[in-house]
Assembly symmetry: C2
Homo-oligomer: 362 residues x 2
Amino acid sequence: MADVTLKDVARVSGCSVATVSRVLAGTRPVGAEVAHRVRAAAESLGYRPNQVARALRNRSTGTIGLVLPQITNPFFPVLVREVEHALHAGGRALLLADCDDDPATEANRITALLDRQVDALLVIPVDETHSRDAVALAESRVPLVMLDRVCGPGIADAVAVDNAAGVGLVLDHLAGTGRRRFCFLGAAGTASTAVERRMAYEAGVAALDPQAPGRTELGDFSLEWGRAAAERIWPARPDAVICGNDLIAVGAVQRLRQLGADVPGDVAVTGFDDIPMASLAEPNLTTVRQPAAAVAAEALRLLDQRLAGRTTEAHQFVRLAPELVVRASSIRRATPPGTSPSGTAEAHLNLPLDRGHLETGT
Amino acid sequence: MADVTLKDVARVSGCSVATVSRVLAGTRPVGAEVAHRVRAAAESLGYRPNQVARALRNRSTGTIGLVLPQITNPFFPVLVREVEHALHAGGRALLLADCDDDPATEANRITALLDRQVDALLVIPVDETHSRDAVALAESRVPLVMLDRVCGPGIADAVAVDNAAGVGLVLDHLAGTGRRRFCFLGAAGTASTAVERRMAYEAGVAALDPQAPGRTELGDFSLEWGRAAAERIWPARPDAVICGNDLIAVGAVQRLRQLGADVPGDVAVTGFDDIPMASLAEPNLTTVRQPAAAVAAEALRLLDQRLAGRTTEAHQFVRLAPELVVRASSIRRATPPGTSPSGTAEAHLNLPLDRGHLETGT
DNA sequence: TTGAAAGCGCTAACAC
DNA sequence: GTGTTAGCGCTTTCAA
């Protein structure tokens, strides 16, 4: 039962290892009768090709590495699932590496996977700048595609959601439902998602609310920080809190309510990503959905393209369109409360509601 | 820069591949001067041992497979993280397989990983009965440890939380805070966690509330099902809803509130696992915390023990103690509402509050 | 202490 | 069509 090799199958079926290999791989024509004998022998012996030997010989392990910042970040598991399924469906396997949100760890993980001769790498870079060198180095050794987050331009193929467009959708929606005092709770780091969302917000909000840039808090993509930031921002009495991701938004909603704010009556709160938690928060969170399955599929398509050999072509950067998911956290009630419960009504700006879109397309 | 082999290092340092191998592996004494030359050459060439070749020769890939039901189940990512970090710290790597909660897929994934010559397998079985054969087969080929969930007795080493003890903690807590009409929303399947929690509930609740067994709903470990089940159970006006996991509990709380129930005023709701979402739900969810880090560490300890050779010893089954985390969803308010808001006060049983514990220990 | 050589299991020339 | 054989890159006897 243990460790049946080609040689065993050859002996039992009375032919050479080469013939057996050919039958099993179907790589070259083989006599029908012999082929049958070989297959029968392989079957009865329970032969399973040793993938390590095959990998050494073929210079291909059939293994893809996925390097991500933190598997406990609730947006990533769905991405992992999509990637895993696609890979196994193609007879490949997934080596997973978790970087603990640390670029140094990320560099180590990447070299560890390269040492293991992965055929290609999928990387969600921890940081737009600090991940650059490790990613660039890896890209020179093996096909590599960044997904969800990216670092630097032209460093490798990449697929990500159009974060600017997503923020644009949020601003349109909030402005269109009468919100006028915006603020932003985002991540300070240089993860590309953090940067892009922050920049898009600044660019888009200027026309809507000139004071808004002064009401920006930057920390990290966590729930705890969302709570703390909400506390700092609330005295400015915004009527719309745009958050860099769903975790921040959920934390913000919790704290705002504790502070006596009515969400969405006094203040709308929006997130980004549409993690499972978003639809469970109280109130359900308006957010920007990332097309996770499409991101994974597109990343693998780019990878297969590189693996198929067109390795010299220029790097591709695919941007996928996000989708606004409007839920309770940003919806004006049919019967608005007569008085501003917090007693701090503010002057509102008057601006056209249908401002230009922010989407940048590809 | 690409593909420096032992032979290259040997040539540059002017000695044989055998010597180079010995220097780098430190496996046998080598002349100090030669050793130095070798190391310098390896360094300057950027030599990295090819793990695949090493694996073929050593009959060990340094790779561990982790097979789990669904990475999107929010309890698993933390387990994955712990396992991944422990493995990489030991110079090993993690092959991840996601079974889509399907035993047939699970069997395929397991053989795929075995074909890739994983040194050992960590398995969270999808199902107590349907996963059995595949796990048993795998266990005969390679060291294998089940974690979190188990299947069948004595099929392999296993480490899991003491689910019965956990349910006991919940029952004690609820009974001790005056709850008297219990009901249970659990999973119908034969995942071991589902079975053990269900059985423990039935065994433990009998003495507290003879009618309780009639108020049991069984479905699956999902939020959606938790919502539906809450709707079915509410007409019976329980004052305590014990759920098989946190997802069910969060769903139940949502629907109960929609139905006008006051949680925890009218009815306490408890979960199991303490996933991140539990502390975010409104109200925060009382639940049973699984010691995820300890589960992972213990599983790897058992694995290393097997890998170290004591392969003939009897299977070990380690049970880890859970911890009750009391949060708002089960706490009686300091000032209880004078009237039962739902207007359906029920007769309460009178039972001693300090019933015997359910814990079974190891 | 060092080198030559065998061989892990497989595939692909290259012969016949 | 089929067999023989040379490696893939590494570790480890076995000799020297």
